[in-house]
Amino acid sequence: MNLPLGTLRFLGFHKLHELFGELQFRGYRCMGPAIEYDAIVFRELASAKELPRGVQAEQSPGQFRLTRDPRNRYFAWANGPQAIKPFAFAPRESLWQVQRDQEGALKFEPLAPQPAKTAIIGVRACDLAGLALQDAHFLKPPYPDPNYEIRRKSLFLVAVQCAEPAATCFCASTGDGPTPQSGFDLTLAEMENGFVISAGSEAGTEVLAALKLEEATPKQVQEAKEQGEAAAQKQSRSLPGRDLRPVLMNNLEHARWDNVAARCLSCGNCTAVCPTCFCHAEMDEPSTGTGESLHVRQWDSCFNEGHACIHGHNVRPDTRTRYRQWLTHKLASWHDQYGRSGCVGCGRCITWCPAGIDLTEEIAALGVNA
């Protein structure tokens, strides 16, 4: 029996384990937040008991620190370094294999990933928006990417509304959060003693129906709505508009690029934590003696020296042109490619930048003509 999309139910904390159980019964491994190296990452969780509770993440430029949440909630942390990007766009994977026989003939074989059905619990609105942008990039005709598609279709996404945005968050200004709007199978809004839960897909309604939950009360629904609005209000950072093409493309020789280049280490941390960055390198992995080679791809960054190298010439030989490439792509040329900005306001690039470079600050400075 299915429930109509948008049906609002209430999942008490004491029933959270039933959500895990239902997903596992349906063949999903459950990935959820876990604390590793003093940060929050997604790891496989055997049950709801393994969810960290009362953990908050204090974030600022170049800083991430776990703290205690006085309300002891499950999802009081805004986000960790790892978005859900790696679950669909693998950091490294083999694309094809080739075998050369004794006569020198070549036999190519595409290598399909075989991901386990995976439910991710605790997906944020920014991550969903990032995934939608990755979908637009990798699944676009005429060459949709099979490896991405196979991994993508293995996912069941349990989103959660952000009630405690970090100081680095600005999803309200990009229009992507803090309350998940679409792209999830189930979505949760955490209350004092449970979650308002609703489904956003057929698969989600099936799970929701199977959980046999009480309807959420109008008071709970209202509280969830207000919590989302309050979280948006709490955000202190913002971008000055949705389409920043004029600010960036009319200021390509602005002195601020030299200023930021003097601080930027060109390390690529921002691109590694970004939920929308899609650059990857392809390379060959020769075998030792068996006549086989693997063709692999792995995440690359426009901050890496070789990213723009053509024979005998590096199109972007310095940090100034690399940072400018990153920011103009993310906030300007992404509009030309996919009809919106490539930034979903998660703020990870600010938190995880070892130099504490804050793109909202860079944009503000570029808006002031030198």
Binding site: W96, L106, K107, F108, P110, H137, P144, D284, A308
Partner: protein, 284 residues
């Protein structure tokens, strides 16, 4: 699970190709003629002028190489390659009968149909450029279909001009003018000594209808577009082939981005108005 993507898409996974011809054009430049081993795939292979293939050597890597052969030649796929890097140096070692991998054809080519009946100006610089040489060959094989053909090439020193014989040979075709300029001449240098821009005033063309195809260093193309415009050619009649780092050729890997364009699928051939805003800024 219904999939929109196809794991065995020949644009994503190479097909075996055999080397059926090899010509050494200069000490570092060679031409390979390739044929897909699968006869049906070879018969079905169609490209347009200015597109490229990804050539693959197992265990070494893939490189984007412009297709040199005539689109109507369905017997073999031709690539003229300069041995400059890790993969091209290994491609240079290939002999007839050797097998490699091939994906393609990719990208958008030259508007060769629109050039019919018009004067065509080909501008190339540096060490010669396969994408425009393919245009020259195409027009010379169908000489009556096109107006004046002018081939302009600038080099720093006379000895930098490779394929000297070929320029001289092109110059013998009817209505075809080769103009080469070297900043420094040398013994028996038959062409102009001085700047390549000196030559633009002498191009035999009806400028409002003529079309230009360019390939080479971007600074040279920027100057050339400006000169052509000064001589009356509309900017939308100027085309150029861009070169960027490419790994995937299908618009996924991100290396070849030029502003919002993916050079591998939106190019490599662009019209001048498409690129002129960004090309003047170093670093895109």
């Amino acid at each position: 699970m219904t999939m929109v993507a196809n794991l065995s898409d020949k644009m994503l996974v190479p097909q075996p190709a055999v080397v059926v011809g090899r010509t050494q054009e200069s000490p570092s430049i060679f031409t390979l003629k390739l044929r897909l081993e699968d006869g049906a795939a070879q018969a079905a292979f169609r490209h347009s002028l200015g597109q490229f293939n990804m050539l693959y050597l197992p265990g070494v890597g893939e490189v984007p190489i412009s297709i040199m052969s005539d689109p109507e030649d369905q017997q073999a796929i031709g690539h003229t390659i300069r041995a400059v890097g890790r993969v091209t140096n290994r491609l240079a070692e290939l002999q007839i009968g050797d097998r490699i991998g091939l994906r393609g054809p990719f990208g958008r080519g030259w508007p060769i149909e629109n050039m019919k009946g018009r004067d065509v100006v080909v501008i190339t610089g540096g060490l010669g450029c396969a994408p425009v040489v393919a245009v020259i060959h195409y027009i010379l094989r169908r000489r009556a279909d096109y107006g004046h053909l002018t081939i302009i090439q600038g080099v720093k020193k006379a000895e930098d001009l490779i394929w000297r014989d070929q320029y001289a040979q092109w110059n013998t075709h009817p209505d075809t003018h080769v103009m080469v300029a070297a900043d420094e001449g040398g013994p028996l240098w038959p062409w102009h000594i001085g700047r390549v821009t000196d030559l633009f005033g002498r191009i035999p063309m009806q400028p409002d209808k003529a079309m230009a195809v360019m390939c080479g260093p971007e600074g040279m193309m920027v100057v050339s577009a400006k000169m052509l415009a000064e001589h009356g050619m509309p900017e939308e009649n100027m085309f150029l082939s861009m070169e960027r780092n490419m790994h995937c050729a299908v618009g996924h890997c991100g290396h070849c981005q030029f502003g919002g364009a993916f050079v591998c699928k939106d190019g490599p051939v662009f019209s001048w108005p498409q690129v002129k805003g960004l090309i003047a800024h170093r670093g895109f």
